[in-house]
Amino acid sequence: MVTHETSQDINDPPRHEHMEVVPRRSVLRFVPPLIVVFVGLALLQSVVLNPNFEWPLVGSYLFSTAILEGLATTLGLTAMCMLTGAVLGIIIAVMHRSEHWLVVGFAKVYIWFFRGTPILVQLIFWYNLAALFPNLSIGVPFGPSLFTVNTNTLITPFMAAFLGLSLNEGAYMAEIVRAGIGSVDTGQEEAARAIGMTRLRAMRRIVLPQAMPFIIPPTGNETIGMLKMTSLVSVISLSDLLYSAQTIYSRNFEVIPLLLVCCCWYLLLTSVLTVIQGRIERHYARGRHSATPQPGERT
């Protein structure tokens, strides 16, 4: 019997398409979806149907003037700080590549300091700058001053927030730009200098444009992070989205509904930014793919 079966198998090999395929079925395969449904229902009951969340109140405050004004401040601050931070980042990254040790040292100390101290501390520090320097003046060190201004008039909460967040962002952007520049082949700069470009022009015309695919995607992440980080400025009483909500709930004690209002706006904005970020990333991923293969080059 056994020999007969084997010989038949060899003469007439089984063909996949002629046989019924039986997938592997485990009873446990229903467990994860069941857990998800269970947790989902539990959340629905405890969050959406829980009257303590006061969803109608959330709805009524969502578009109130104070909240929308706070939202505008948050958005404006995010845009301004990201822009300034990116410019600072490029400058610091280029300084990092300088031939002069003092310039490199400055860039290193800058990154070390702003990445090494909490942003919250930095914000409070800028807010209290007047305690350190009652007057700010421009002039020669140890020499005459040309222009003096009272620190308290200059450093408004917005100014303190702007300074703190941009200078901090500059340090993080510097690291991103530095990594981007590092990913461009050194031969590119050499070729640029060989046709008579100065180091700065080679950087601007040849290296930075090619570093962009490596710089822009992480910058999108930074922007999303910055949007949320601006909520820290509420500690220096700048009326951003969070502080506006806090002002309202300090009067009516509706803490949770107003924090929910904030969350709704933050989630909406980060979602929009995430979609944009995804598009940008896909765009640059395409460019990189077509640029990498070097036909005819020996490897």
Binding site: Q188, E190, A191, R193, A194, Q210, P293, G296, E297, R298
Partner: protein, 254 residues
């Protein structure tokens, strides 16, 4: 005034504690084609990079067209030039790299006009017309709008030569221009270089192509361990090397 195009006297290069160049004495005359040959690590490429100051020398004297490279001579002193001033002298010296180094974000013709437009401040239209002629000269008119990633290695290297020529250099430096190429693509690049040599361009070529050195070059300099060991017409150097090191090198490569 007739200066040597390249004049090197006791040129040294030290990196850390290592002497890469141990006193190079070497001259190239106007219109001459000279190749630097020798085992890898002998300092050929380093010396070539010193000629346009991509690498700074640490000793000796190196001049191009009578002017010390990277310095200005005045009152018997050498004053170091600024980055912008060195850039101007580099603009007159073309260089072709082993790995082509075409600007990846620019098309072939944009690569060629980049120098004339950005450094020489030529109007774009004029630079484009000249670039088109140069691309035709290296046989690539049809590839003017192709990006480097769409070109073969041989085509990229020919664009790189056109890019260097667009600056109207008085001297061309080639750093192993065919070493990164598939064997069947070497010929097209060497043909462009031969054409250039026949046109009277002064060229210094670091190469492993002994046949090219023998056929095209006026002189061949054999380098070993940071020194020029032998220098002379190719037939003399290849057929009757005086040093043991050159003899054993040629025995391996010829």
């Amino acid at each position: 005034m007739s200066f040597h195009m390249v004049e090197a006297v006791g040129v040294e290069k030290q990196i850390g504690h290592q002497m890469i160049l141990k006193g190079i004495d070497f001259t190239v005359d106007r219109g001459e084609v000279v190749s630097l040959i020798g085992p890898s690590g002998s300092g050929k490429s380093t010396f070539l990079r010193c000629i346009n100051h991509l690498t700074k020398i640490t000793g000796g004297y190196l001049a191009v067209d009578g002017e010390p490279v990277g310095y200005r001579r005045s009152d018997n002193k050498l004053y170091e030039l600024s980055d912008a001033e060195v850039a101007l002298t580099r603009a007159e010296i073309g260089m072709v790299f082993q790995r082509f180094n075409l600007f990846g974000h620019k098309t072939a013709i944009e690569n060629v006009i980049e120098g004339p437009v950005q450094v020489k401040r030529q109007p774009v239209e004029r630079a484009r017309a000249r670039a088109a002629a140069l691309l035709e000269r290296v046989g690539l008119s049809s590839k003017a709008d192709a990006y480097p990633s769409q070109l073969s290695g041989g085509q990229q290297q020919r664009v790189a030569i056109a890019r260097a020529l667009a600056m109207d250099p008085k001297l061309m430096l080639f750093d192993e221009p065919t070493s990164a190429l598939d064997p069947e693509l070497v010929g097209e690049v060497l043909a462009v270089m031969k054409d250039l040599a026949a046109d009277g361009m002064t060229m210094v070529v670091v190469t492993h192509e002994m046949a090219f050195a023998r056929e095209v070059c006026d002189r061949v300099a054999f380098m070993d361990d940071g020194r020029v060991v032998e220098c002379g017409p190719p037939n003399e150097v290849f057929n009757n090397p005086t040093s043991e090191r050159a003899r054993s090198f040629f025995a391996r490569v010829l």
